[in-house]
Amino acid sequence: MEKGKGVLGAGRRWAVDFSDNSTAPSSRDIPDPPGFTRASVDQDDSAVSRQKKDAEANWKAQKAWEVAQAPFKNLLMMGFMMWMAGSTVHLFSIVFEPYKDNKVELLGPKLLFIALNLGGLALGVWKLNTLGLLPTHASDWVSSLSPAQEVEYSGGGIPL
């Protein structure tokens, strides 16, 4: 995740754009170096950039899946930890925002992410239940039930 962040466009402070879009003649006050033909470059430009963009989208999608699957790695670990010692609460941060793009389908990763987190939650609940902290038994609901009122009253004893 950290690596992807450094390279990607969004979320960074500064960037050097190596793809030169300044093809307008007015800006060209510096003559091209000898042997450089601009025409051929301009010709290829759109194809190359599309290709580039496709690669980038693929890469982003791939990364999104990676992020979505990231909790899975934790899951076994978490389960083990839960099994080892009690239950602790984890904060699952949703970090799909950086991958938001019109062209990237995020529904799948999101669902997986949710499903896996729900799995983690289920594990936690199961753990709580085994600890007896969930009110799933009748005894949990009657433990403080006050005695029923009696209709009749009787008193007496051995005469004084």
């Binding site: 009110p135 009657v142 029923a148 009696e150 009253y153 007496g156 004893g157 004084l160």
Partner: protein, 982 residues
Amino acid sequence: MAIMSFIFAFFFFSSLQPILSLYEDQVGLMDWHQQYIGKVKQAVFHTHKTGRKRVVASTEQNIIATLDLRSGEIFWRHVLGPNDVVDGIDIALGKYVITLSSGGSILRAWNLPDGQMVWESSLHGPKHSKSLLLTTNLIIEKDNSLIVFSNGRLNAVSCIDGEVLWKKDFEEESLEVQQVIQPPGSDFIYVVGFAASSQFETYKINAKNGELLKHESTAFSGRFSGEVSLVSSETVAALDSTGSILLTISFHNGKISSQQTPVSNLLEDSPGLAVIIHSSVTGIFAIKTDAATIFIRVIGEGKLEVVEKTNHETVVSDALSISEGQQAFALVQHAGSNIHLTVKPAHDWDSNLLKESIKMDQQRGFVHKVFINNYIRTDRSHGFRALIVMEDHSLLLLQQGAIVWSREDGLASIIDVTTSELPVEKAGVSVAKVELNLFEWLKGHVLKLKGTLMLATPEDIAAIQYMRLKSSEKSKMTRDHNGFRKLLIALTRAGKLFALHTGDGRIVWSHLLQSLHKSESCRQPIGLNLHQWQVPHHHALDENPSVLVVGRCGPSSDALGVLSLVDSYTGKEFSSLRLVHSVAQVIPLPYTDSTEQRLHLLIDADKHAHLYPKTPEAIDIFQSEFSNVYWYSVDDDNGIIKGYALKTKCSGNVADEFCFDSRELWSIVLPSESEKIITTATRKLNEAVHTQAKLIADQDVMYKYISSNLLFVATVAPKASGEIGSVTPEESWLVVYLIDTVTGRVLHRMTHHGSQGPVQAVLSENWVVYHYFNLRAHRYEMSVIEIYDQSRADNKDVWKLVVGNHNLTSPVSSYSRAEVITKSQSYFFTHSLKAIAVTLTVKGITSKQLLIGTIGDQVLALDKRFLDPRRSVNPTQAEREEGIIPLTDSLPIIPQSYITHSLRVEGLQSIITVAAKLESTTLVFAHGLDLFFTHYAPSRTYDSLTEDFSYALLLITIVALVAAIFVTWILSQRKELQDRWR
């Protein structure tokens, strides 16, 4: 739910440490102990020798005690058994206290300074008779001797070792010996008595060897009655059985001569039936009639002369010889709120050696007994001190016209106890007090802190201890939010009501009840019990609480009843009622009227029920619940238990709308040849039960059968109702019943073969614990029965419970015949028991402990978990977690769980538990001859900080922590700055 888990967690942790004990410095902090001796029967002064002056007293509670004459404190005290009635006491040789007890068959000598027994001899004889103890200065075979007449035999006993020197039997069947007289300076003894009620007999006995010197007898036409009064060493005065003829009989030198004087000759008006007052004043005797006490002087040969006729209640002391041949005696008379103490010489009625008037508290009633003692003043004249016993059983020492000390010995015979709340603290009163004492408060906490940090010097520790013991907080006259401060209201046998403060045990007020006072219409009033009449909490807060005292005129069950209402704050008897019916039972009903007066049903001997208070409002409330009120009676003589419902208004000729007839509903007749009722037990009316469910291992639940109409009855084989060991195990059995008193349904019956009473039982929530003797095992046993409602057990559907779709809290009727199951278990127990009670807390959440009054007069706490029928030898893991203790055959006695610690409550009768407002704590009051009070927390005080919690330490810790936070914050800032500059 979270709170509940929290509380359960607390219980779990607290149950890990079942031993509750006290540190040495906590003694006296919460508890107090008072010692009493009871109503003094006889007192002997010991003031001759140098050293502490003391008085030896024997009491109606069979106690022998020596008291400090300066302060009234007890030097030593011995409680003889209930059958060991003291007949006489005296001091011999100036160092032994001699007591004759058990109908004259046991003679003991106790060392006067420390109360150790020196010797004991048992005196037996041919027949039962009056017991007389006579100390003499006779010397027989070099030993100082005592003359004892008991069981028809005259004994001379050595003072040194209790050996019987000689004995002489008086076997004649009809002989009633009245007096044993030793004329001073002589060596013979007169034994005088009546034979066949009409013959006067004198025996002259040689005091050296018991030889009969002379026997004379004279017959009289009439019959003798009652006592004789000794007029001189050779003259007695007696009355005939009609009470109208006085006889003076002299037997000088064995010659009997008598004189008869009709009482009417001495008094102008007919005095009615007279009785002779026992006294030993030379030359004078007294007779008492209904209206007056008459003092009669004997002049010369049987001539009688009335010297004084007093109309007041007059008490006369025995003669005291003050110098050679001179005797004095004391008279005490009442005059308004004063009493007059007069000391007269025996030979001269008209002169007074002493005449004092002393203001006496009206609440002490009349003087019952007076004992005098003399001392030599610095001007060599005679001074007198008098010990008086009052109607309320209190003991006072009078000297020089003032009360030197008084002892409230009426508290040794408490009949019943109830409690009352104190007044609510008014706003604005306490604040000023705290401000004034702010410095003191701070000083106290600094001292406490020093104590906690172990910096205190021994003086500081003593100061801390003093502060804790004398804390004004605990003896305030207002209500506290923990509910520790209350009034204990005690009714004594003398008919006096005492209010004791629970903080320090002092008497807040005492009141001799007028309704329990002897009068024309009520000759023998006795107090029966106490009930809380009015306990204002919500809408009648400005009213004072009050208690109801129930009594009756006479010992028989059909004697008319007496009611009295007493204000708990002031002790004033604001209403007193002579009933026109008898009182067989008092049933407090669970209904109160708009002024929070509790409705009471009084059942008379004819099974009519009378409703009190007699107000229209009460009858309205009662009418609405009329069909649901039942009552039952246990006839232990005939073995019949009967249940009744109320019918219509009384069918008697007087229209009384507060009187109801009873209709018999059911009866349980126990076979009289095989079962005899010895004990019953019911649940306390004010017991709170927190929950109806009992959670058991594996999340399972059992429903308790909780009913306030449950009656426990124990019966034994009639043969086995005597003492332990009087029958063989085969002839003896104990049967216990659990009975529903509305329907008469026997819920449970169990037989213990080979077991015997006495049975002590306590019933609480859904269980009963009882104690008995197992003849086969030769040991005491305790059993527990728990009763569960099986018909509720199928309420196991969680969803129904979650949405509240169940009938567990709907009102139940006894007629629904719930299916019950019982579980029981028995254990051996080392002690025999005098009383048993159970701790009582305000909401019933705290786990219960049994309070056991042991035979050693101590109170032992025993965790109820030891008496759990689900105990097994090898409990499962789940059961262990639940707190089930592995089964052992006997119950453990943990020395630290004696809540009376090192003290003893002599003659322990009953243990009373009262809930404090703090859920963890129960107030325990044990009474017998002594009183003991303490706070007890069965599961520790989980809901409050302990008394010795150091607030100063907490405050200092917080301040230190805050300071540390600031310092580290500044340091870290500085370091960060330096790092940045680097």
